[in-house]
Symmetry: C2
Subunit: 120 residues, 2 copies
Amino acid sequence: MRDDMLTSVLTELNGTSADIEASGVISTDGLMMASVLPAGLDEDRVGAMSAAMLSLGDRTAQELNRGGLEQVLIKGDNGYVLMTYAGEEAVLTVMAKSNAKLGLIFLDVKRAAESISEML
Amino acid sequence: MRDDMLTSVLTELNGTSADIEASGVISTDGLMMASVLPAGLDEDRVGAMSAAMLSLGDRTAQELNRGGLEQVLIKGDNGYVLMTYAGEEAVLTVMAKSNAKLGLIFLDVKRAAESISEML
């Protein structure tokens, strides 16, 4: 039931923009709770890399006096990965194309993270 | 001489916006090449965290099919850390306030990274 609600938020998020290729909700210890991923993208790999990036991001934010971590964005020459806390125990990871409009992605992801946070 | 040129690019970058609090050029193995940091922010700490984030960011970009890493952005509730490759062997790390206009920061940092890349 809760899985279905999470999946429906992700499906809606992926539908808001053709630039969003994949999304998933991951517990802060790296286990996938729900995901809408294209073929060829492995759930476990997305979960593991998200958890690792957030853990190091947390530490970096602390060490460099940036306060509590909210988001990590990775830009590669083939697209973006955006990881956003959805409450304290889960993370919303979104993958977007390299030509994505970042302002819109930030807005849509923020709204989705708020919805997810209320469900958990 | 090259140190002076790097420091002058960083001083100019920090001067473009009151929202930029600190910047540094770091070799990809984590050693500081030049920096303009406020008191209380340790060079070695900035270098070490930048190198660690980029190393994991490289791997994440590869594992999630995002191509070669260009940038990592960390958003904390007290501000941003933005790490951008300046050529292949150095990284420009910039710290900005939480109310910074990200679009302007991205633009100024991109220009500074290009200048630095030409000097190395």
